[in-house]
């Protein structure tokens, strides 16, 4: 299962897009990602790229 990115990793991704969040912002984002990333991994398994329903 993908680990939630660290604040430093998130900051780097954000800054590459011209966005400069605070530490508090990144902690709030990590709380979302902790729930979302495992759910998105499960979704990827449920509907893989070759899914016949696509």
């Amino acid at each position: 299962m993908a680990a939630t990115p660290s604040p430093a990793e998130l900051r780097e991704i954000a800054e590459k897009q011209g966005v400069f969040p605070t530490d508090e912002d990144l902690e709030a984002v990590r709380a979302f990602l902790a729930i979302l990333l495992p759910a998105f991994e499960e979704l990827e398994r449920l509907v893989p790229p070759t899914a016949p329903h696509e």
Binding site: I13, Q17, P21, A28, E44
Partner: protein, 467 residues
């Protein structure tokens, strides 16, 4: 008074458009200080428009009817704040497509309604404009994001309203405020001139007192708009004229997993309502929706990135001007790899197909609009069956499945628990608005939940009701 009755009274000459507008302006002045339903009241403009209507030769079906709009819908010359600091001073030069249509029908826009900042949340507790208070219990939320609509209709501060719904934003406040709302099929109503959340799912629709009111508003709102890439070229129907056939023989699929997972008292109201549908002649059948538990994930896989894209320039230049919750939600979209969006698209395609198959067996689906009662303002968690959960997570399985597939959903008041309203969701197939509204209307002909009003909405608040 319902919008339908008011429109009838106006048409019969029992009162004038100016008198109708003055009536609601008095009520707003008397009551809205407690509710904060409105962000902007267009008193002078609405009165001038009422006078102009009286001089007009053509009278549309909503001639002289005062309506209010969620403050993401552009009205030329009136601020569209989106409940935000970022757009606090934005004054559009053009009406949204739906406002053009409302004006053609003869409606008068009396004001713009409070909402969750940028329509991206379900609380309507804007840090910039303050929370909207639930007319049934002012210490509680109205739901959202169209929370001001719910409050304004419940407290009779306007005859009808227009909101938006990406993942429940019409249905949630309708349920929590004891009013009737309709999320139309995605694309049936134009989104042009409306602040976007997530274009794949955004839908504009009515919130009013009754299914008939919603039908009359939808007939004015719906219609193909070549200027909106999400608009579908579907026939515009006289929805208000299609409600009278009753529901005998209608096959209604009960989404039992959603009933079972709701707060037991809410589930009790839903089961009573389903019994009422049965007594009206509907055939109830239990239904399992296969991807139900994943629907929220599928929608979020697309929605987070679409919302971030829509806000990218402000994320770069005005980040600190967002409220903390909306800022975090928007930032999430920056960190999701592109394959997440693609799995969302594949998941949506499969969910749409599975629901299409279900609608070969049933005419409608029925479920609780919300699994819980409106929580107190400032509370982030709710308790369901003794288990505490985040409110924002609890609502997702009840709302995302239908948004995901672009289906029409009505929420109708169907009971009260501890003095707070409960809503029944009636879901139709794509472009199945006539059946959804017919069932909602039949239910309201047999029940009076939609007629109950909170104490502060008594007719004499703001002086007399219209003659």
């Amino acid at each position: 008074m319902s919008l339908a009755r008011l429109a009838g009274a106006l048409g019969a000459g029992d009162l004038s458009p100016r008198e109708a507008v003055e009536h609601y302006l008095r009520r707003i002045e008397a009551i809205d200080g407690e509710l904060n339903a409105y962000i902007t009241v267009r008193a002078d403009e609405a009165l001038a428009e009422a006078d102009a209507l009286e001089r007009a030769h053509v009278r549309g079906p909503l001639w002289g009817v005062p309506v209010a709009l969620k403050d993401v819908i552009d009205v030329a010359g009136t601020p569209t704040t989106a409940g935000s600091r970022i757009l606090a001073d934005y004054v559009p030069k053009q009406d949204a497509h739906v406002v053009v249509r409302l004006r053609q029908a003869g409606a008068i826009v009396v004001g713009k309604l409070n909402l969750h900042e940028f329509a991206y949340g379900a609380l309507t507790t804007s840090p910039h404009f303050g929370p909207a208070h639930n007319p049934w219990a002012p210490e509680r939320i109205c739901g959202g994001s169209s929370g001001g609509n719910g409050a304004a209709i419940a407290a009779d501060l306007v005859a009808g309203s227009v909101g938006t719904d990406t993942a429940g934003s019409i249905r949630i406040p309708s349920s929590h405020c004891g009013v009737t709302g309709l999320r139309p099929s995605t694309g049936l109503v134009s989104n042009r001139g409306v602040v976007a959340v997530s274009p794949s799912f955004d839908a504009v629709g009515p919130i009013a007192r009754t299914a008939m009111d919603c039908a009359l508003l939808l007939a004015a709102l719906a219609g193909h708009d070549p200027g909106d890439p999400t608009s579908v070229d579907a026939p515009v129907l006289p929805y208000g004229e299609l409600l009278g056939e009753g529901i005998r023989g209608l096959r209604v699929g009960m989404v039992t997993s959603l009933v079972d997972a709701a707060d037991p008292q809410v589930a009790g109201s839903i089961e009573t309502a389903l019994g009422e549908l049965r007594s009206l002649g509907a055939e109830l059948v239990p239904v399992t929706v296969p991807l139900l538990e994943h629907a929220g994930t599928i929608q979020q896989a697309m929605q987070f990135q679409e919302a971030a894209d829509a806000h990218m320039e402000w994320l770069r230049t005005r980040l600190s001007d967002y409220g903390a919750d909306v800022r975090a939600r928007l930032l999430v979209g920056l960190f999701l790899p592109p394959h997440v969006y693609e799995s969302g698209r594949r998941g949506r395609a499969r969910a749409c197909e599975e629901l299409r198959v279900i609608f070969e067996r049933v005419d409608l689906l029925a479920a609780p609009t919300m699994p819980v009662l409106p929580p107190r303002i400032g509370t982030e968690t709710v308790e369901i069956g003794g288990r505490e959960t985040l409110y924002r997570l609890a609502l997702i399985p009840y709302n995302s499945p239908w948004s995901l597939a672009g289906l029409p959903v009505a929420s109708v008041p169907c009971g009260f628990v501890e003095g707070l309203p409960v809503g029944l969701a009636l879901v139709g197939p794509r472009l199945g608005e006539p059946t959804v509204l017919r069932a909602a209307h039949a239910f309201q002909q047999a029940t009076d939940w939609h007629e109950r009003r909170p104490a502060l909405a008594t007719p004499d608040a703001g002086r007399a009701a219209p003659p």
